[in-house]
Symmetry: C2
């Protein structure tokens, strides 16, 4: 098929497909004539995958390229694929190493109290510590109960991530889900947290019940 048909089959605008191509995110097509290149269903699948990583997952082109390279290296051990997935954080800024030692210690302390087995080079440590630093800029020094709730949430999601891998048999299918599941689990959770917040807010600040004691303090502070 032609490049325009690839775009149509993947439901992705042709300009986006050409952009992926220019950025080296798609494998080359086959020269079928001096002025013609043909593509196949593997290109359609790759276009969909690139779109999911870039647009929905928010990865940069550079990180997407690294992730695809690991996926394409059929001989890469799954441990290496897993490491690539781990480093493909939605926010590439998380790898700046700018978090305070205090916040890193806080996270490591709770992770250790939870009995998790993890290493200090795990990029998640830096990302979580930076978020704690950000919360501290507004004078919110997250208490243990708050951090532990997030740890529990993370453990619940991670168990589901790993359980999903067990549903696949082929190495390539497992590798793909490892990477895409790790990347897209972040926006999936972020979206569901917005929905859960609306529900939790409804319980605590009932719109129709101003006499509720649960919301009294906060409604009193409302201007």
């Amino acid at each position: 098929m032609r490049i325009s048909e690839v775009a149509q089959a993947a439901s992705v605008p042709l300009t986006a497909v050409k952009y992926y191509q220019r950025e080296g995110l798609l494998p080359p097509g086959e020269k079928s004539a001096p002025n013609q290149t043909t593509y196949d269903t593997r290109h359609v699948e790759r276009v969909r995958l690139v779109r999911a990583l870039l647009e929905t997952g928010g990865l940069s082109v550079a990180v997407t390229k690294q992730v695809l390279a690991v996926l394409d290296a059929d001989t890469a051990p799954l441990a290496e694929v897993f490491a690539a997935a781990q480093y493909a954080m939605t926010s590439s800024r998380a790898q700046d190493n700018g978090a305070s030692q205090e916040s890193r210690d806080r996270i490591e302390g709770r992770v250790s109290a939870a009995g998790w087995c993890s290493t200090s080079d795990n990029p998640g440590l830096e990302a979580a510590a930076r978020a704690l630093d950000g919360l501290r800029t507004i004078g919110f020094d997250a208490p243990d109960a708050y951090l532990d709730a997030y740890l529990n949430a993370a453990a619940t999601a991670a168990r589901a991530d790993v359980a999903a891998l067990h549903g696949r048999q082929e190495r390539d299918a497992i590798a793909e889900l490892m990477v895409v599941g790790t990347v897209l689990g972040d926006p999936l959770f972020a979206g569901l947290r917005r929905l859960a917040q609306q529900d939790a807010m409804h319980d605590l600040f009932p719109v129709s019940d101003h006499a509720s004691p649960a919301g009294a303090d906060i409604e009193g502070a409302q201007s």
Copy 2:
């Protein structure tokens, strides 16, 4: 103090502070002489807040500006602040309305089964549905158990978010935590999920125990 002292006090590079200023993210200083403008601790706090939203939270300049405007409108009811926080999704692409109806229905179905009270204009619905669409591009049609694990994780985090608000008395302090907590809870969770995955992987693919039945299928598929 001078602008360079604001940068130093906030531990943010001067070039970044000047950029925030040029983008209209900082309130103006006070003209103390024809060629001199002075700033105070409120500017230091604002620089830290802007950095947390932009760099750690990954918000765009435009969304950060909207969020600050709501925070600065002292008379805005907390419900409006909450709405602004909800719409300040880490990925602004989440507001494209590009998710499939099928995925939106899937999410609404699980949310309704969980008994959550939420409305269909909640931006989280679109974000979560897009993530599901992305997972489907690699042939992973998330089973109910997977989605429900993420719903549970989101509910756990959202309850902690709301509980944290109850620890604050002043309207401004509540509003600030509503916004910053909503924005930074995403990277906090994302980081902790990387740590939790390492732990969950360790249990299921034990490096030192190749005979483990739990990891057998997947290790067998490894090349």
